[in-house]
């Protein structure tokens, strides 16, 4: 979340789309109700199905799964054509005025509808764009500013080369009529939503967006989030209280896990994992390295139209070398960081979920890749949650061994009991522990790290996961001890699990301290926060984002203080916007609303005044020359007035980007494409047969897709309040199981009549991947759509079930395809094709 849970109460309009917050985040939903009660906020629910969230919304709009970009693109078009965008904010805080290369073409004027400039000729899916044209126009480099590129800036928004005009052109055909044609949402209702939502372009109002997997789990999920972000930037809703774009995380600590680099392409703190390419061979020092290095590649140059006068580009990622070097020193403190960099595994291929299982199924044969022999499964149940589940079950058969750490037998640990054939995989089930059986920090969607104590010990031989990991690491270290081989040094030199001589004996606290960071010199002690980290190898820090969570003081030596354990439940903000600064600690630097520099006027007579004074976040006092006490932690450069820096310091151009500059693979602007499986044969936006779906999507060679002739019904999947994700926990709890005892498919009364199905009947749901038998839930909450002139039915399936546990049932993921987002490969669980017959 750019903002945080409590901040939802400050919103004037709440768009719940791609999320069913009342169902999946019922506790946090109270802040939605708070906004309704205290600010008379309007709640808008946009969903293919009328949900528990819709039941509490002022306005509900139905929209076909997979058409979200058309809907949001239509809102962008509405804002621009009706002059309902925040002109001052757009000029000051976004790259609207920045000039784009004249050879860049949008999907409207490229001559190939639906494609931007740079797509290879020939209408072939799966190719990569040449992104050269997706860039600013630049002035010649100024040798006085070697780390700055100098883009050209237009004088006003009417300049045909500027980003704003490109944006306007790109979305010019996303009219209400087009939205109705693609999404199936009536124009009048769509216009009503646009009117209410876009009204927050006024500075004193704000709208927030609550989204979750309903936006991400599409082949164009990343672009979908971009569309929503562009809308928020146009309306001046980013960085302000009650605004932002807010991803509602679905697991207790999923935010923490991504922060700490569990994903294959990331190190900790969102630094990229080095790749197995020549320019990542050496660590280097930064962008001015004479030869190609990892840090030269990864450390951005600032972009500033006029580097000689403020505002300047904050370009916070210029600090990346400090963070990477400090992480290397945390892991291998006795090794020069240029050497320990080479200990890091170099990424050589895609290792996302689907790719891993495809690799298990079809072991790679090229000489530089090796088959996957073993698998650790922690806190995960892929034999319920993975797409194309029966295919993934076959993949597990090719393993030599698999270790599952869980509290119960799950479909994954017991896959061999139902998979046909002679299975050689040796499976180990380690008894793990429940969240209340271990202590430590958990980070919620608000980026808020909260420390929890252990309530009781795990039963029997069960152990906390960190203890299991420590013992595993200890055993591996012991195996390699005494080896003098260079190839073993990443293990023999490893600081495992952490330096207890400096950080104390408690495992969990010691790791938290290492994550926070400390000085390696003889004085030692913690750094204060990440502003104290250095790139010279004298500081160690496991994750720069969390640097600040575990120290206090005004000068060295600082004291170890666990701020994640702060528990003062008092509001600290003078405007009562719900900051509660002394409860837990949110990264970065306990900032509760990121990008908050954009919440004040950037220059002029009212420089530093908040856009909305009744819910101000930060406020620059021009007399005292400082920000007012009690405000949120200023987003970087906390002593500098607003006009000293461009507001978005994490971007090297300092601007919220209405147009992405070589960021995503499938276009600098989002464009509507159909899901990979669609009931349509032409793209309703362009009328073209290519590209029907996202042209850049990677298609695994052996995945099968269904045609709308055989599988005419759109399907989506989702979770229920009553069950927890893969169900390994909740389907073993009788109290929860009796509430939702078995799986079902929700369908409209119209579809039920057409199929001769009565509520509660058993029905067979089939896709090109497989079929399942589940109960029918015939409901008014689904309605058929009219899309591109045809009637399209949609159904929905919760996917918590599998064959194990006290409450077994068919898995909806038998039906879902092996296809993922162009940029992240998150599976397209939310839109695929099925057929339904009465069982």
């Amino acid at each position: 979340m750019t903002n945080h849970w409590v901040d939802i109460k400050n919103a004037d309009v709440i768009l719940i789309m791609g999320s069913n917050a009342a169902e999946n985040h019922p506790i946090a939903f109270k802040w939605v109700m708070e906004a309704k009660k205290n600010r008379n906020a309007t709640i808008i629910s946009v969903d293919p199905r009328f949900t528990r969230s819709s039941s509490k919304a002022d306005i509900y709009a139905q929209m076909r799964s997979g058409s979200d970009i058309a809907f949001l693109g239509g809102m962008i078009n509405y804002a621009i054509t009706n002059n309902k965008y925040n002109v001052q904010y757009v000029k000051d805080c976004t790259n609207a005025l920045w000039k784009i290369r004249t050879d860049f073409k949008t999907a409207r004027d490229s001559g190939r509808p639906g494609l931007f400039s740079g797509y290879p000729t020939g209408d072939i899916y799966g190719q990569a764009y040449t992104t050269t044209t997706w860039d600013y126009q630049y002035a010649p480099d100024d040798p006085s500013y070697p780390t700055t590129k100098i883009p050209l800036k237009a004088v006003d928004l009417s300049d045909p080369d500027c980003v704003f005009q490109k944006l306007k052109l790109q979305y010019s055909i996303y009219t209400p009529a087009m939205v109705e044609n693609i999404c199936g949402t009536p124009q009048a209702l769509f216009n009503q939503i646009c009117e209410i939502y876009c009204n927050t372009y006024q500075s004193h109002l704000s709208a927030t967006q609550l989204y979750a997997m309903g936006w991400t789990q599409h082949t164009n999920g990343s672009q979908l989030i971009r569309t929503a972000s562009i809308l928020q930037l146009l309306l001046g809703n980013m960085g302000v209280a009650g605004g932002g774009i807010n991803a509602l995380r679905g697991w207790q600590n999923v935010q923490g896990s991504t922060d700490h680099g569990v994903l294959f392409h990331l190190l900790t703190g969102y630094n990229s994992c080095p790749q197995n390419i020549l320019k990542h061979a050496e660590l280097g020092t930064g962008p001015l390295d004479p030869t190609d290095t990892y840090l030269k590649d990864q450390t951005p140059l600032a972009m500033d139209p006029d580097p000689t006068v403020p505002p300047a580009s904050g370009n916070w990622w210029a600090n990346r070398p400090k963070y990477v070097v400090s992480m290397l020193k945390a892991w291998w403190p006795s090794v020069p960081h240029g050497d320990s960099y080479k200990y890091l595994p170099k990424r050589h291929k895609d290792c996302t979920h689907i790719s891993l299982f495809e690799d298990m199924l079809n072991p790679p044969t090229s000489p530089r890749t090796y088959p996957i022999k073993g698998l650790f499964v922690w806190g995960s149940n892929p034999m319920v949650t993975g797409p194309n589940m029966e295919r993934e079950r076959d993949a597990l058969k090719n393993l030599d061994w698999m270790v599952v750490c869980d509290m119960f037998h799950t479909e994954t640990s017991d896959f061999w009991t139902v998979a046909p054939g002679n299975i050689k995989t040796e499976v180990f089930l380690l008894p793990g522990s429940a969240f209340f059986e271990r202590k430590g920090s958990a980070t919620n969607s608000s980026r808020l790290a909260q420390w929890k104590d252990k309530a009781c010990n795990p039963p029997g031989e069960a152990l906390p996961e960190e203890e299991i990991l420590k013992r595993l690491g200890d055993a591996i270290k012991a195996l390699y001890s005494g080896s003098g081989l260079a190839k073993d040094k990443p293990i023999t030199d490893l600081n495992w699990p952490y330096d207890s001589s400096k950080l104390g004996l408690d495992l969990v606290e010691g790791v938290a301290k290492e994550i926070h960071g400390y000085y390696l010199d003889v004085t030692g002690g913690p750094v204060l926060n990440f502003t104290g980290l250095l790139a010279d190898g004298t500081t160690a820090c496991g994750n720069w984002l969390y640097s600040g969570t575990y120290a206090s003081g005004t000068a060295r030596p600082y004291t170890w203080t666990n701020k994640m354990a702060n528990r003062i439940p008092d509001e600290t903000h003078p405007a009562n916007i719900g900051i509660y600064a002394n409860w837990g600690y949110s990264w970065p630097l306990n900032r509760r609303i990121v990008y908050n520099r954009a919440s004040v006027y950037q220059s002029g007579v009212n420089e530093g005044e908040p856009l909305a004074s009744d819910k101000w976040v930060i406020w620059w006092d021009p007399v005292a020359l400082k920000y007012k006490d009690g405000g949120d932690v200023v987003d970087g450069y906390a002593t500098a007035k607003p006009s000293a820096y461009y507001p978005f310091i994490m971007r090297n151009d300092g601007m919220g980007r209405l147009m992405g500059i070589k960021a995503l693979l499938d276009g600098p602007f989002p464009e509507h494409y159909e899901p990979r499986e669609t009931p349509l044969t032409t793209n309703p936006l362009t009328g073209a047969t290519f590209p029907l779906y996202d042209p850049c999507v990677y298609q695994y060679p052996s995945t099968v897709f269904g045609s709308p002739v055989d599988f005419p019904i759109v399907a989506t999947t989702y979770r229920l309040t009553e069950h927890w994700h893969g169900g390994g926990l909740s389907r073993n709890l009788p109290w929860l199981g009796q509430l939702m005892p078995e799986p079902f498919v929700e369908m409209s009364e119209e579809l039920a009549i057409a199929k001769g199905v009565i509520n509660g009947d058993n029905v067979i749901v089939s896709s090109a991947r497989g079929s399942i038998t589940v109960k029918a839930c015939v409901t008014k909450r689904f309605k058929p759509f009219t899309v591109a002139g045809i009637t399209v039915h949609q159904v929905g399936l919760p996917w918590h079930w599998g064959f194990a546990t006290l409450f077994p049932g068919a898995s909806a993921n038998v039906l879902t395809p092996h296809i993922g987002d162009v940029n992240t490969r998150i599976p397209e669980y939310k839109a695929f094709l099925v057929n339904i017959t009465k069982a």
Partner: protein, 238 residues
């Protein structure tokens, strides 16, 4: 009215059913056998194992509504169930107004001969129940219904109301109220809670719910459990 009152605000309820689970947990009640019958509502009704059940209604008026109603004992000021109990097993605490069934005195096997017992016949809301199905077998237990979690309070229910006319729930609340994520459940002094309910109804009437009302109508049937309904009472199957 003297005593305590519980308010259930359906305009805030999202039917997450945490109240159902919290109720079973506090009362150490077992789960019962269920199947999916085409609705989220499960178990279908209150039973010997579930003292409260959220009921779901899909209703069209000017637009589609999905309405939720947490059904349970109303704790009538004048409980008919108590008046007709042949075993004198139903107790009303005069100070709080809580109506509960004494599990020692209640014994359906020796009560009135029919399957349906006098308290069930008398209850206008169809609440008390002593049967449920577990592991395929019909289980008969004592008659059960909401007891307001009276045993969570720092309050002596064996008090002499003449000498100890005040009640105090301390910091504790009924299990359903404590767990309710959106804060749809509120307990407190009977008159204050009714005032709060009327305030909420008045607000809802200005916020798109012209038919909002307090249920049951307290003039005719004063109760210690009340609801704020967003729609007319009849659409909730009441």
């Amino acid at each position: 009215m003297i005593g305590i009152r519980l308010l259930i605000d359906t305009s805030k309820c999202v039917a997450c059913r945490a109240c159902q689970v919290a109720c079973q947990q506090w009362h150490s009640l077992p789960s019962e056998d269920t199947t999916f019958t085409g609705t989220y509502q499960n178990p279908p009704d209150v039973s010997g194992a579930n003292l409260t059940v959220a009921k779901f209604f899909e209703v069209y008026d000017t637009k589609l509504n999905w309405l939720f109603f947490k059904d349970q004992c109303r704790h009538c000021e004048n409980p008919f169930c108590l008046q007709r109990c042949p075993l004198n097993a139903i107790i009303r605490d005069a100070t709080t107004g809580i109506v509960r069934i004494d599990p020692v005195k209640c014994d359906p096997s020796i009560c009135h001969g029919a399957e349906t017992k006098p308290c069930q016949v008398q209850c206008p809301y169809g609440i008390p129940e002593y049967k449920y199905v577990k592991d395929g077998s019909l289980v008969r237990t004592v008659m059960r219904k909401c007891d307001f979690c009276y045993d969570r309070f720092d309050y002596d229910f064996n008090h002499d109301p003449l000498n100890n006319p005040t009640w105090d729930t301390g910091s504790r609340k009924p299990a359903c109220e404590l767990t309710c994520p959106p804060g749809a459940i509120l307990s407190g002094d009977a008159d204050s809670i009714l005032t709060e309910a009327n305030n909420r109804v008045n607000y809802l009437k200005t916020d798109g719910f012209p038919d909002a009302s307090v249920y049951p109508k307290q003039i005719d049937d004063p109760t210690h459990v009340i609801w704020v309904l967003t729609k007319i009472w009849s659409v909730y199957g009441l």
